[in-house]
């Protein structure tokens, strides 16, 4: 019963925050709603018995990513550029022209249905065990064992990936005083006010 309540409250938090995130025009508020979504997802992880993943979700996202996003929004002014038209049809062709979008979506739909048709065994004959047990085994030790046995290569490679990300992010974001020569104002004026 408690898991039902937790599931319902978390999922309603997620859906409400999602709707508000799409709705709001203030990017700072959008980040705060993202916080709600992420905490709700952590609640869903709890109902799935994944306590370590839930805590990781809160730790990495709330403590790290959201603060970084808030920093970024503040440093870049937080202006939100709304699209030219607020109607749904106006929103559609933003990724190209109207025709490319229509052709692309039609192709995607056809391919999607074909895929579903060919792989329907996977979808409809998937063996789902509806667990009724309310007891959850401790996950963290098993995750640790998996990390040093089955997934040890991924574990070590992820450290290298993170090193790469750290070096890359530090190089890119390092404060520089001078602007690159090729982007001096005369070159820069070509773009700008004609977009919005």
């Amino acid at each position: 019963m408690f898991s039902d309540i937790l599931f319902l409250s978390s999922s309603s938090l997620i859906i409400a925050s999602c709707v508000l995130m799409m709705w709001t025009k203030n990017l700072m508020h959008s980040c705060v709603y993202l916080l709600g979504v992420l905490i709700g997802i952590a609640g869903l992880y709890l109902t799935l018995g994944a306590d370590f993943v839930a805590a990781t979700q809160v730790m990495v996202y709330v403590g790290g990513v959201v603060i970084l996003m808030l920093f970024a929004v503040m440093l870049t002014g937080g202006k939100d550029f709304q699209s030219r038209s607020q109607k749904i049809l106006g929103l559609l062709p933003l990724m190209g022209s109207k025709y490319t979008f229509m052709w692309g979506s039609a192709t995607a739909m056809v391919f999607g249905f074909c895929q579903i048709y060919f792989f329907r065994h996977l979808f409809f004959e998937l063996k789902v065990q509806e667990t009724t047990s309310n007891q959850y085994a401790p996950t963290i030790e098993k995750i640790g064992e998996l990390l040093i046995t089955d997934h040890v290569v991924a574990f070590e490679i992820s450290s290298v990936l993170l090193l790469g990300a750290l070096v890359g992010a530090a190089i890119i974001a390092r404060p520089r005083k001078e602007r690159p020569a090729f982007l001096e104002p005369d070159h820069h004026d070509d773009h700008g006010e004609d977009h919005h």
Binding site: M1, M28, D51, A55, M59, V62, G63, I67, M74, I140
Partner: protein, 384 residues
């Protein structure tokens, strides 16, 4: 909820009787419902207790600072000024709640709540005694670490939403300071996790039962250094002097809560003072043996639990005194010093400690320094 406070109280006869009768009457198993009511009651009790402790923290701060500076301190309200916190509370409640003209209203309301939320949720896993713990989670320490990072978001949003330059500077400093000092804290906690082999507070504390030399601070030289790193980083995490740059009154007026008045300023301050207690409690549980007495006495009964609770409380209060003492002794750091202390001293030393502990475990099979030095001495690792 076997090891928690509700499971403990459900063992008593009157409640058992209540559960059986109400189950028969209502037609379903009411254990969870009664457990919920017990949790709710004790949640309110713990929250009220910690709010009182936080309130007394403000008085202790003023009294101790007065003592260190050869003054008297607050002495008008009640004996020795002991009721000052009630006066402060009434003052906070009856002051006008001003919002700056250009503030972001939603975030302005949300920021103190996030700060309070992060701290109050941490209370649920603080082990007050063997049975007086609300949730002994398998991921207890990690959970505390994770949820307390909401405080940083609250501080940043508080600084941002006020739309005042002082607040914004304070909020940015606060957020970057809190996230930076989370790294040494995490690494020190991981050192303890290596030794204890678990993330739950109960397991970690049970490993340190018995005499003080079983405490993790005296386990090996690395943990001894690690405790001080943890303590210094915890000071910075709670924005205490000498790391109180986010609210440095001589340079930033009052930092991130410059524009906050009345009760919302009070809630920020309350969250801060509760957080100091909680962080010290975590330090006590991880390094200083937690609630364990050196001998087993009345274990499992309510007086025994109260005794353990007293032990925990005294240890935490000693650390609390040290925190206040440090505040009134050391000058404030500069921002560059703050960052270089975190990234150039604490973090490398913490990584070094982590490596040292890992090698220690492999070399000496996880035995403590005391056991190695006095092999054959009576090892009273009781509590198991």
């Amino acid at each position: 909820m076997e090891n928690t406070i509700a499971g403990y109280f459900l063992k008593f006869e009157p409640l058992k009787y209540l559960v059986t009768n109400s189950s028969a009457w209502l037609g379903f198993d009411t254990t969870v419902l009664i457990g919920f009511i017990i949790f709710l009651t004790f949640g309110i009790v713990f929250l009220g207790f910690l709010a009182t402790v936080g309130g007394f923290g403000t008085i202790a701060e003023r009294k101790i600072s007065a003592d260190l500076q050869a003054r008297i301190g607050p002495n008008r309200v009640g004996p020795y000024g002991a009721f000052q916190l009630i006066a402060d509370g009434i003052k906070m409640l009856s002051k006008e709640d001003i919002m700056p003209r250009d503030a972001d209203k939603f975030l302005y309301y949300l920021a103190p709540f996030l700060s309070l939320f992060g701290v109050v949720c941490t209370i649920a896993v603080v082990p007050f005694s063997e049975n007086f713990i609300m949730a002994d989670l398998n991921v207890g320490v990690f959970y505390a670490l994770a949820i307390s990072s909401l405080v940083g978001v609250g501080i940043f949003l508080g600084g941002y939403a006020s739309n005042s330059k002082w607040s914004l500077l304070g909020g940015m400093r606060g957020a970057s300071q809190i996230i930076s000092y989370e790294i040494p804290v995490t690494l020190c906690i991981m050192m303890i996790v290596l030794l204890a082999g678990g993330l739950s507070f109960g397991a970690i504390i049970d490993e340190q039962a018995g005499m003080p030399w079983n405490w993790y601070i005296f386990h090996n030289p690395f943990t001894f250094i690690g405790f001080f790193i943890f303590f210094v980083s915890a000071l910075a995490e709670t924005n205490r002097a000498p790391f109180d740059l986010p609210e440095a009154e001589s340079e930033l007026v009052s930092g991130y809560h410059t524009e906050y008045t009345g009760i919302r300023f009070g809630l920020f301050a309350l969250a801060e003072y509760i957080e100091i207690f909680v962080v010290n409690g975590v330090a006590v549980s991880l390094f200083l043996g937690g609630y364990h007495l050196p001998f087993s006495f009345l274990e499992g009964t309510i007086p025994g639990n109260l005794l353990q609770f007293g032990t925990f409380f005294i240890k935490t209060c000693v650390l609390y005194y040290v925190v206040i003492w440090i505040r009134w002794t050391f000058p404030r750091l500069r921002v560059d010093q703050l960052m270089s202390i975190c990234w150039k001293y604490l973090t490398p030393i913490a990584i070094f400690n982590l490596v040292g502990v890992a090698i220690w475990i492999v070399c000496f099979d996880g035995q403590s320094m005391f056991n190695l030095l006095f092999t054959g001495a009576s090892h009273s690792g009781g509590g198991h």
